[in-house]
Amino acid sequence: MLTSIKKNSFENSESKKLAMMYFRVAIVLFGAQLLMGLIAAIQFIFPGFLFEIFDFSVARMVHIEALVVWMLYAMIGSVYFLMPDETGIETVGIKIAKLAFWVLTAAVTIVVLVFILVQIGPGTINSIWFINEGREYLEAPRWADIGIVVVILIFYWNVFSTYSKGKKTGIMTVLVADLMALAGLYLAGMFFTDNISIDQYWWWWVIHLWVEATWEVFVGALAAYALIRLIGAKREVVEMWLWIEVLMLFGSGILGLGHHYFWIGTPEYWWEIGALFSALEPVPLVAMFVHVLYDWGKEQGAAQAEGKEGSVAKNIPAMTWIVLNAFGNFLGAGIWGFFHTLPQVNIYTHGTQFTAAHGHLSFFGAYATILIGMMYIGLQYAYGIERMTSTFRSKMAVFLISFGVMGMTIALTIAGYEQVLIERAELGATWNAYFVAQDMPWYVQAQIWRSIMGVVTFIGFVYLVWDMLTIGKEQYREEAYIVERAATAV
């Protein structure tokens, strides 16, 4: 009995400690992302709010930049966390990895401070190097780009040498290949050109091949790891699924890139290529959804057949977020993406709130959910808890964040629909057409609902942080108490 409070086998794993450091920064940046989103949402309703002090462009830039960075932090953290389990050895070169963490965190702090305080610069190459690159999602100035590349190289070296020395599981093999592509693609966004078409051509290599290819495969690998760890799914089954997912995700996602090349100056053949392959992109997401639920049901059924009671999942909050991921990925990336991926539709929806609706639900459903799940797995480990159960706060976080994001998505979809009808189809997308559409009741009301749902999401986030700060200590104490009682009873 006493084994249940024995500290886990990786008590001294520096890799896992480093993972927790990455998770902590990630959650802080997640909060920053939500705050910036609230400011930007308020500015849609009250345009005078912080005008010429902290303009929409600044709030929105920090909103999406914090999003990308917190997700990268949580992803890197997840890798440092799962690596000792998968390879069976401690991560190689952990000292330099810790140094890289501090360098990256210092760089991110400076970049964010410059974004907030300096905001913009004169039209010179120095502004691009030191203030802001001014390309959506890739705003980080060039010096920071180079810093990021160096840190990522150190990270990749950690992963690759640990993989080479340790056990080579299917999950690790997929991660090693996927992370190389993920890191390499960042280079496609690191140059300046006067040609806006070429600029956007390569810009999409980074954005699309990240979020619709390499990040998705990364999520597949995380889900595989989580299923083995949380419900004891069979590795052979999980890893076979993983390879099928890689096949389908890369098979559709790589050429699905074409759906961003409809209108940026690139040739017409991208209409057919982009439409065909991006229409296939939801297929692997359906498969991932089925796979997670099927495995869970199978393991639960097997446990019940053996007469075991209760949930087979060892960490209910983490499992909740991972099932939410399976569903949210399919709904946000799959359904909301498919809505406007065909060129016949996209010519009207491209650059409207439709895109924003899809962006909100897919980043949340596909990435935020599973990364929060990984953080709960981290917490369970850090406190050496055998079975982690949901608290009232964890449930409130799940409910409010999901409800809030879904509400924002529906509101933005309605706003986008109105824009498509009025601004695009009826009036022809001019300056005047744009503002006529912005003032229609459907649009204005949708923006109000979006802000309300943003507040709901933020309250959910407060519950999430509160839960993460308390759940470990609380349940550690409870478990110790149960064991003590059991021991005295004997």
Partner: protein, 223 residues
Amino acid sequence: MSNKKASVWTSIPFWRRSAAWVTGVASVLLIWLTFDSISQINMGTESDLKNGIDKRVPAATVINYKIGYAMDAKRGHEVPTIGEKQLFFGKEWNEEDAKNLLHLGKLTSQSKNCMNCHTLLGNGAYYAPDLTKAWLDPAWKDGGPMQGMTGKNSVEEAISEFLQHPSQYPTHARMMPDLKITKEESMGLVAFLKHMSSIDTNGFPRNFSKTDEQFKRGGSNAH
């Protein structure tokens, strides 16, 4: 799985190999298509413009020409048209100067973070109008509200004046903030916008020329 090959469909090595092949083939196709696309969207030259060769992305000196956006019956959507010569800020720009002006404009568009309010070629943020064909917007044309408001009598001068002092010329409760754009930077930005309007975007944004026709007839979008 077990050594006995029950079925290829349950064999991990089979799926691993398939994944590798599919990824490899898709990547090779993408790289091949990229070579073709990049060659088609490289900027044209001054002689292309002189000889009437249509490039998807024309040379910077396209700022010396009148640009239109008209329905192309064969392609079934609107395409940019490059017409007769037209002075830009009162002069014709040589190749070198036009290139430098466009360079300044593109740099300014990034350093002022235009894309986090506006969309360019439809990409960016959705807080302000799309700029893909902004140069052709009826609001800026002769007789449009913006020339009267800024007290200028050409499209380029009106846009340039607006960009330097945007919050002095509000068009909506949602205004563009003062981004400390200098005279030169604003001229560069206008060149960047004019150049962008000449890019063949396969008919995006659709119906843009329709409102132009309405405008010429004296109609407006107000109901």
